[in-house]
Assembly symmetry: C2
């Protein structure tokens, strides 16, 4: 294992060959890697046990230890994930459009891999196989830099993928793991713009901010979601309850879970007690404005900080507002621009909300939980972008590509 | 004029309204601004004279003073540029595609403005009106930070555009000029990720590197072009001469001009003297490898640095190579991945070059000078991206937009 610079150089070199593979060749690598992963489940679980032991010794919370743990069925799941990616359409090589200029030049916009993708992530070992398969399928080399908590598991998984690459006659540096999990190795990656084309941090807000601040490599910000649901005065209140409960409670720890509920004043007297009692039935702590406090018992007073907070927990901030304009302004001020929903049967308000809320995904009468590559129909995702440049929302295979202009001439010169 | 932070806040606020304007409203602003610009040509020229006087006092080169100078006809040109942008198709609001999921959700990908665009540029005052019109048409607020050499001219131009905005009842903070031209004001802009969605530096390599290094705002790198022409063994040599001379000499100071010429060894004996004498007739200094030196008189020996250099001048590096593979490797090593061309009549080599050269624009049998928004058919451009993320090659109106997912439901929740 060489220095980060070496890893970058090798990744860049491997990416040139990888970019030229046929879809069939890439699919074969993924099928083979899935088989090898399953066949070596015993070894991977053994290595994973070292990580679990270290985590227990370090006093890691049981919920986090659960995320870190691998067993036969989870490894089967990882392998199935690789086979699923093999089944997806290959975006590379398609010419999105081609046109002819008056001077006869034919110009086409061809989809090509980005080159080298760096991923800095935290403790979940399944990210290792997911990210590697998406990068291989889209023709990109990948440099994986997982957290130290999962290092032995990650090494075992990458070992299997490298074996599949070797058996397929492909440069094994197409997938590399940074085994040095110190902060310096992450910082070095952030300065490797010579070799890395894009860096995708996956993890908490702290990690993402650090990468954004220090990276000279272009970054795609992912995943921080302070998602809002606005229940309009013309809402179907039963539907609103179903949507709020689903968005808040079906999986509170993920970025597309709702964190904040805005309720129009005209329906507050009826809807606040209705939704608050359901939230409480689901063990959700309610942090409310003064109006909410007056309409329901034992509401924790919300302070300024609550409106901007991504709880990732069984907590929801609730506010009564005067108008749809106030709802949109509130979202504009506090949202991380991930996903927001309006519940309404009013046509104008639905259109206004869709037009004016500036988030990656804006919903009418549906749960924010659908902001997800699989749910939106992309098959898989490498993360959910909350920035506007390059990719916005769930990033599938296409978002791991760029274009180049191919120009066919017959001697044209510029006058 | 407030601080940079104030400017950012105002730009963000203005961008919300600007994003919702109809195409007609945006076109009217541009038409009005063009009229006001022409009507006030006298005032603008007067202000420009202050810049010219200061530049002369500071001993600026005459070629640079020429680029800085405005007269009646150049102002007419700027106004015409604004009217041309008004005629372009508006990308905002189009839904690129819409699909239905098995659960009935209808998901559309809608094109929306980026929000706030920051542009840091050097001495040419026409960039001020060009950039402002492209941003207005694409529904984005813009913060312009031009060089101190053109500050009086830029202030005069922006004054006219603001008048057009005011007369149209649009927030005049949609277009703002940073009047403080110190290095600190540029650095502050680079840290304004709270308000600025993308920063586009336009200027020399030094400026672009500084922005890339210091910016927490996503950056689009533009314009550095060490462009190559490879003359294959199966080339039509007369066509090759025309293309090389056009790419090198028609405008050596621009980024799509060719800087380096690679020649296959099998045609070197004939082609090296042929092209070198034509280059010399055009006052181009030739920096050659030893083979080129042996085939033509008075060639300056090229050193390692020459291969990586963007001369932007009447200088060209020339190298004889053994194969198309060596040409592709050489380009991979030294190119800035802007534009490269092959001249050949060999089908396989043409396809190989198109597939394997990883640049924004790759040409067969045409001059690299066509990498330009106007020439490629985009109508206008705000710069030429040499990075892979978000935009690659000439950036027209569409590249100043992003997408958002709009989702129409009827009560869907995630199982």
């Amino acid at each position: 294992m060489g220095s980060i610079n070496d890893i970058g150089m090798k990744a860049k070199k491997a990416s040139r060959k990888l970019a030229l593979l046929s879809t069939l060749e890439k699919n074969n690598i993924l099928q083979k890697a899935a088989d090898i992963l399953e066949k070596n489940a015993g070894y991977i679980i053994e290595q994973n046990k070292i990580d679990i032991k270290n985590a227990e010794d370090a006093g890691m919370k049981t919920t986090l230890i659960d995320r870190l743990s691998l067993n036969e069925s989870r490894i089967k799941g990882m392998a199935q994930g690789m086979r699923d990616v093999a089944k997806l359409d290959d975006p590379v090589g398609s010419v999105d459009s081609m046109w002819k200029r008056p001077n006869g030049l034919q110009i086409g916009q061809k989809r090509v891999p980005l080159g080298v993708i760096g991923i800095i992530y935290e403790a979940r070992p399944n990210v290792t196989s997911d990210a590697a398969s998406l990068c291989i399928k889209s023709g990109n080399s990948v440099i994986l830099r997982g957290g130290k908590e999962a290092i032995n598991s990650n090494k075992a998984v990458v070992k299997m993928i490298k074996e599949a690459l070797r058996e397929s006659g492909i440069d094994e540096n197409s997938v590399q793991l940074v085994e040095d999990t110190s902060r310096e190795s992450a910082n070095e990656m952030m300065r490797l713009d010579k070799y890395i084309d894009v860096l995708i941090p996956r993890g908490g807000a702290g990690l993402i901010q650090a990468v954004k601040k220090n990276s000279t490599v272009p970054v795609i910000e992912t995943g921080v979601g302070n998602c809002h649901i606005y229940v309009d005065k013309d809402a179907d209140l039963d539907m609103a309850c179903d949507i709020v409960i689903n968005a808040k409670c079906s999986r509170p720890s993920v970025c597309n879970a709702a964190e904040s509920l805005l309720i129009h004043k005209d329906i507050a007297d009826k809807f606040v007690p209705m939704i608050c009692s359901k939230l409480r039935d689901n063990n959700v702590e309610i942090r409310g404005c003064s109006k909410v406090q007056s309409l329901f018992n034992d509401v924790v007073p919300a302070d300024e900080e609550d409106w901007g907070k991504e709880y990732l927990d069984y907590i929801m901030s609730v506010k009564v507002i005067d108008s749809i304009e106030e709802a949109i302004d509130h979202i504009d001020k506090y949202s991380t621009n991930h996903s927001e929903a309006i519940v309404t049967n009013n046509y104008n308000n639905a259109q206004k909300f869709l037009n004016e809320v500036d988030s990656a995904a804006v919903y009418v009468n549906a749960s924010t939980r659908f902001t997800d590559g699989g749910e939106m129909g992309f098959g898989a995702e490498i993360g959910i972008s909350t920035q506007k440049l390059h990719a916005r929302g769930p990033m599938g295979l296409k978002q791991l590509t760029t274009i180049k202009y191919i120009v066919y001439g017959d001697g044209q010169i510029r006058k």
